[in-house]
Amino acid sequence: MLDPVMFTGGVYKHDLVTELIEDLGGYLLQKNVTQSEVILLMLVPHEDMPVLEALTKELKGKLERAPLAGTEIAVVTPTLAIHHLPHPACDVAEYLRRHGAKSNMIGMGRGVAREIAQIDEYETGLINEHDAVVFTFGNFADCILKKEHLYRTLTIPVIVTGGPEMKKEDLPYAFEYVANVGRIAHRSRKATEIGSLDNIVAAVGRALDSVRASISKDPLTTTPPRVMEAVREQVPDVSASLSPLPIALNLNGLRIKLPYQEYHEAVAGVTFDEGVTLGEIAKVMPSRMKSYILVRILPTSETGFVV
């Protein structure tokens, strides 16, 4: 059992943390250096947490649980216009990020209005590549009800946010509805507004748990962090990717930020200690996001073994 945690501390001696994680058999998901501070997002074996806690104390760093680490969440706004951005969509995205998730903001092409709102096949495909999605709607109850068709076809859990209180049974296609967000024209700073953001994080956590539960019924052939490690070792060019997070983890695979055309064969050829290649235990396909590579690990029922 791996625990997702976030380490915040000074750059000085932070490599002791990364080395310890390696020795413990954990994974370093993301490393952000901001001047003299470093933020490490990691997966650590549950039973070894006291060791890491002791080292953190020694380095005078801070260790927090990051429940959303290793997941990618989409935050969808009806458009990219000033009406919907930057508040509150950026607040939601930033808040999810602070809890360890990789959040992507998606502005729909024609998501506005009550009667004319629509979602196209590309947008559906792009959103479905994430682990969960947060739709930010406005302050009119009537509009929130009528915009249901925007997310009806999505296969991932949908968290709908809006202003007014709504009944759960009125939104059958939403995983959960979080009220008191809606359209605002200032940054979230009041206690009630921050509380609503906490509610969104909690709802996303529950949505991810439901995905994890359904995956555990037919476990993946291997875990996404293990594939990440193997790709980092065997496709070294990934470290030259300019993305802040060259390999983004999903619950059922990963997104590798290298051009599909040039690298998909190298990625599919990544070999594990057991002798199988990634191409045999996962689907390597082009992502809808730029020209990236999307890897979807096959479940045990399809491959017949676990590595």
């Binding site: 000033i82 009406h83 009119f140 209180e165 605002i184 024209a185």
Partner: protein
């Protein structure tokens, strides 16, 4: 007409009480951002979500006189011309543009960051630096477009001397719709 800033501010949205409350905040935020609150005396907002449309009617507080050179800086006659010392740099760019246009570039000097010298016998005192009234109306239009929900793409705008009426709807705006919105706003005014 003498009015206090936003002495009346009413938002009515039948069936959407939460929306009415929130839109009050949004309108306040946006008017504050664009510095328009002091220029608006009364504001009525009516939204009919069934049709749907978004109507705003407002009364403008007083007319703003055009901004002249003597309003933006201290004017002192000097040898061979006039010296203007500007304290608030907000209108500096406009001021230089106007002086260049009137006297030509070679006759305008800027010895210091906030000092301009005009080499001419004619006083620039009465030159117009900025038309605040036009700027205000442009900002007001911008604010209204920002306030109205984005899906309401069909807009109608009637800008008067003392008041303005703005209507945004999803479907084509018909004369009946305009009449209905005005009727509802009149109802709010008389209530």
């Amino acid at each position: 007409m003498e009015m206090d800033p936003l002495e009346v501010f009413e938002v009515r949205m039948p069936g959407e009480d939460y929306g009415a409350d929130k839109y009050r905040d949004i309108i306040m935020d946006i008017l504050q951002d664009l510095g328009l609150i002091r220029s608006i005396g009364r504001l009525y907002v009516y939204v009919e979500i069934e049709i749907p449309y978004f109507a705003v009617f407002g009364m403008i507080r007083g007319k703003q006189p055009p901004l002249k050179v003597r309003d933006v800086g201290d004017l002192v006659p000097t040898e061979g011309g006039y010296q203007i010392t500007v304290e608030d740099e907000e209108h500096m760019a406009n001021l230089i543009r106007v002086l260049w246009g009137t006297y030509g570039r070679e006759k305008v000097e800027q010895p210091d960051r906030n000092v301009l010298v005009v080499l001419s016998d004619e006083s620039p005192e009465e030159l117009m630096v900025a038309d605040l009234e036009t700027e205000f109306r442009r900002d007001l239009m911008d604010a209204l477009v920002r306030i109205a929900p984005e899906g309401f793409r069909n807009r109608r705008n009637e800008m008067g001397k003392e008041s303005f009426f703005f209507l945004a709807a999803e479907e084509t705006i018909t004369p009946e719709l305009v009449a209905d919105a005005k009727e509802k706003i009149r109802g709010m005014q008389n209530a």
